[in-house]
C-alpha cells in the first residue's frame, strides 16, 4: 500500500519513503540496548515543488524528529529520502554540502536559535561566506537585501539578537534560512512562540516569500487552524505514524481518522456558531518506547474493537485517486 504514498522523485522535490528513526534505550553497566524509542515509525510522504506540506500532531508524535532526519541532523534507522533525485541518507562530501545549501530550517524558538554573541549581519551572512565564498561589500549587499525582504532593513545589520522582539527575531531566522536560496525550507513550529498579532505577520511573510522565490515548505505545527491556512496538503501524525493525509481542504471538510476528528474538535473556537461538540479523549499519549500493539491509537479510541487491538491498519487511500489517505479500520464510520 505504501507504493501509493511515495512515488519516485518524478514530479516531487522531496520524497520520503518508509522512513524510520529509532533511538536506542541503553541500560545497565554495559550500556546494552534494551529497547528502542520509535520516534518515527514507517512514514512516507512527498512534496511537489512550490507546495506546502503540513505535518501536524501533538508533542512527542515525531514530527520534529522526522524533520531533523530529513536534514541529516539525526541518523535514520531505515527508509529512503530523496531530494531532487539525490539519496539524502547516503549523501557525502560535496553532495551533502549541496543538500545543506538547498534545504534550510526555521526553528521554533526565536530566542534560543540565534547566537547571542553574533551580530545579525554575521548570523545571516555566515552561511553565505561558507558556501558561496562571498566577502566584503558584496556580502553586505546580500545581507541587506535579505533583511529588507523580511521587513527589517539593512540598518539592523550591526545589532545583536537581544535588541529585538520575538517577532523580529523570527524574521531574522527567516532571513538566515533564505540566505542560500534554498529550494526546501523546513519550518519547525515557526509561529507557536509568538503573540497572536505577530503570528499572522510571520505567516503572511512566509506566504509572500513562497510566491516570490517559489519555495517549497515542510511546515510543522500543532495548531490545526494555522496549518489549514498555510498548507496545501496535511499529514496528521500520532506516535510516529502518519494516521491521515489529504489535501488541506479535504481533510478539514471530511476528517476520517478518529484522532484527526478529536484534534479538530479540541480547538477552542471564537465564533459561537462554529463551536461543536467536543470529542473527549481519555488518557494520554503512550510513550514511544512502548507503543501499543495493533493500531497505535486504540487505547484512546472510542471505536476500538478486537481487530484494532491486534492488527495495525495500513495507510490506505479512501477511494482511488482522491489523495485522501487514512489508517483506520473504522474509516467507513465517518465517510459522508
Amino acid at each position: 500500500m505504501k507504493e501509493n504514498t511515495a512515488k519516485t522523485t518524478n514530479g516531487y522535490l522531496l520524497s520520503v519513503d518508509r522512513l524510520r528513526t529509532y533511538f536506542p534505550v541503553k541500560r545497565g553497566l554495559l550500556r546494552r540496548t534494551v529497547g528502542h524509542i520509535k520516534a518515527v515509525d514507517d512514514i512516507s510522504f512527498a512534496i511537489e515543488p512550490g507546495k506546502t506540506l503540513g505535518l501536524v500532531g501533538e508533542s512527542g508524535c515525531g514530527k520534529t524528529t522526522a524533520a531533523r532526519t530529513i536534514v541529516r541532523l539525526v541518523p535514520a534507522t531505515s527508509g529512503k529520502i530523496s531530494f531532487e533525485g539525490v539519496d539524502v541518507l547516503a549523501a557525502k562530501g560535496q553532495q551533502l554540502k549541496g543538500l545543506r545549501r538547498d534545504i534550510s530550517i526555521i526553528f521554533q524558538d526565536p530566542y534560543g536559535s540565534l547566537n547571542p554573541r553574533m551580530t545579525i549581519g554575521n548570523i545571516v551572512g555566515e552561511a553565505i561566506k561558507v558556501h558561496k565564498g562571498i566577502r566584503g561589500s558584496e556580502l553586505i549587499d546580500r545581507i541587506d537585501m535579505l533583511l529588507e525582504k523580511v521587513g527589517l532593513g539593512g540598518s539592523y545589520r550591526n545589532r545583536y539578537p537581544h535588541e529585538f522582539s520575538g517577532g523580529q527575531r523570527q524574521r531574522i531566522g527567516v532571513a538566515r534560512a533564505l540566505a542560500l536560496d534554498p529550494k526546501l525550507v523546513i519550518c519547525d513550529e515557526p509561529v507557536s512562540a509568538l503573540d497572536v498579532s505577530i503570528q499572522s505577520q510571520i505567516l503572511n511573510l512566509l506566504k509572500d516569500l513562497q510566491g516570490e522565490f517559489g519555495l517549497t515548505y515542510l511546515f510543522i505545527a500543532h495548531d490545526l487552524a494555522v496549518v489549514e491556512f498555510f498548507c496545501d496538503e496535511v499529514a496528521v501524525m500520532y506516535l510516529g505514524h502518519i494516521v491521515e493525509k489529504a489535501c488541506a481542504e479535504e481533510l478539514y471538510r471530511n476528517p476520517l481518522h478518529p484522532y484527526t476528528r478529536t484534534l479538530m474538535s479540541a480547538i477552542p473556537q471564537v465564533e459561537l456558531k462554529r463551536r461543536q461538540q467536543r470529542i473527549g479523549l481519555v488518557g494520554e499519549v503512550p510513550s514511544p518506547s512502548n507503543v501499543p500493539a495493533g493500531c497505535p491509537f486504540h487505547p484512546r479510541c472510542s471505536l476500538c474493537d478486537e481487530r484494532c487491538m491486534q492488527e495495525s491498519p495500513a495507510l490506505n487511500e479512501v477511494s482511488k485517486g482522491d489523495g485522501h489517505f487514512v489508517s483506520c479500520w473504522k474509516q467507513d464510520e465517518f465517510s459522508d
Binding site: S165, Q199, A225
Partner: protein, 352 residues
C-alpha cells in the same frame, strides 16, 4: 447584598517598575470586579500587564523593583494592601491560589507531588500528616489522576505536562480557595490536553463556587470558558464586556484586529489580516492612545495622537477606551475638538 457577590474589587490599580533605563508603568488605572463563581478573563499579548495585575491581587509584586503606586484591591471585603504580611500569608494559598503556565518549573523537583499537596494542606488546615495524605490523595483523584495513592509518591519529572498541571490544580484547590488565578494554564499543553484541563477547571468552578481569574492570550479559550472579559493593551484595559457580547461585536480596534488575525477553521483566505507594527515597550509607550501607531482607524486623528482615552461605559455592560468608537465622545468634547483641529475629525469618524 450586591457587595457580597463581589469577591474581588480592583479600583484604579497602577503598578510601576523602577529599572535602570527609567520607570516602566506596566499597569495603569486598571479596575474590575470578579463575582463569586464567575470566570473572569484578562486577555492580551505578552508584556501588556496581565500577569502583573494578577500578581498584585496576591500582593506578590517584588518591591523593589516594582511598586503598586495607586489603587485598591478589595478581597472578600478587606483591603489587602492594608493587611500585614502575616495576615497576607494566611490568605495566599488558602483564599486565593494560583496556577502557572509552566507546570515543570513551578513544582519542586526534589519532593514527591504528594508531599507538595500535603504541604499546602498542612500549612492552612489543622490536620495530621496522615490525614493530610488522605486528603491529598482524594484531591488528586478529583483532578482526574488515576491511582492517586501510588502516583502521589512520584516525582514531577515522572509525569507528563498535563499530569503536572493537574497536580498544580490539586494543590491550588486543596484548601478550597475563593479565587483561583490561572496564569496561562494551558499554553504549554497540547490541544487535546488543553481541553481536558479546561474542562477540569470548569467542573472545579461549578462544584466549589470558586471564582477563576483566567489570564491568557488565546481568544478561543476565552470565548468558550469566560463569563466576562477585559482586553488589555500596553498597561491598560481597552475593552471590557460580557464574553458573548465582546465576541459578537468587538468595539475596540485592537480587539477587532486580534480576532481578525486569528486563522479560523474552514476558511482559507489568501492572506491573514494583520495588525501592523509591534507591541510597544513599557519604557517607550507612544503618546495619546497607546494603540494609535498600529490602529487602522485613527493614526491621523489629532486627538488619538495627543490624548489618551479612558475606559467609558458607552452601552450598558460595554466599556471601551477609544475616541473613534461611536458614542464614546461627548458632544462637548466633539465641539471642542472641532474648534481646535477643524472638521478633519469628522472625516475620520465617517470612515467607521
Amino acid at each position: 447584598m450586591s457587595f457580597n457577590d463581589k469577591l474581588v474589587t480592583i479600583q484604579g490599580l497602577s503598578v510601576e517598575f523602577y529599572t535602570e533605563e527609567g520607570i516602566a508603568r506596566v499597569v495603569q488605572d486598571v479596575s474590575f470586579n470578579i463575582e463569586r463563581g464567575q470566570c473572569y478573563a484578562l486577555v492580551g499579548e505578552s508584556g501588556c500587564g496581565k500577569s502583573v495585575t494578577a500578581l498584585s491581587i496576591m500582593r506578590l509584586i517584588p518591591d523593589p523593583p516594582g511598586r503598586v503606586t495607586a489603587g485598591t484591591v478589595y478581597f472578600n471585603g478587606r483591603d489587602i494592601y492594608k493587611l500585614s504580611e502575616k495576615q497576607m500569608r494566611r490568605i495566599r494559598g488558602k483564599e486565593v491560589s494560583m496556577i502557572f503556565q509552566e507546570p515543570m518549573t513551578s513544582l519542586n523537583p526534589v519532593y514527591t507531588v504528594g508531599d507538595q499537596v500535603v504541604e499546602a494542606i498542612m500549612l492552612h488546615q489543622k490536620k495530621s500528616y496522615d490525614q493530610a495524605w488522605v486528603d491529598a490523595a482524594e484531591m488528586l483523584r478529583k483532578v482526574g489522576i488515576a491511582d492517586p495513592e501510588q502516583r502521589a509518591g512520584e516525582y514531577p519529572h515522572q509525569m507528563s505536562g498535563g499530569m503536572r498541571q493537574r497536580v498544580m490544580i490539586a494543590m491550588a484547590m486543596s484548601c478550597r480557595p475563593d479565587l483561583l488565578i490561572a496564569d496561562e494554564p494551558t499554553t504549554a499543553l497540547d490541544v487535546t490536553t488543553q481541553a481536558q484541563i479546561l474542562d477540569l477547571l470548569d467542573s472545579v468552578k461549578d462544584q466549589t463556587n470558586t471564582s477563576i481569574l483566567l489570564i491568557t492570550h488565546d481568544l478561543g479559550v476565552v470565548a468558550e470558558r469566560a463569563d466576562k472579559v477585559a482586553v488589555m493593551y500596553a498597561s491598560r484595559i481597552v475593552e471590557k464586556a460580557d464574553s458573548d457580547d465582546l465576541f459578537a461585536e468587538p468595539l475596540h480596534p485592537y480587539t477587532r484586529g486580534l480576532l481578525d488575525s486569528l486563522p479560523k477553521l474552514s476558511q482559507r483566505p489568501k492572506r491573514l489580516v494583520t495588525i501592523p507594527g509591534m507591541v510597544p515597550e513599557p519604557l517607550s509607550f507612544p503618546s495619546g492612545c497607546k494603540f494609535h501607531p498600529r490602529c487602522p482607524l485613527g493614526s491621523d486623528d489629532e486627538r488619538c495622537k495627543s490624548c489618551e482615552p479612558m475606559l467609558r461605559e458607552i452601552n450598558p455592560g460595554r466599556e471601551v477606551a477609544c475616541w473613534l468608537v461611536k458614542g464614546y465622545e461627548s458632544e462637548q468634547e466633539r465641539k471642542e475638538y472641532e474648534r481646535k483641529y477643524g472638521k478633519n475629525h469628522e472625516r475620520i469618524s465617517a470612515q467607521r
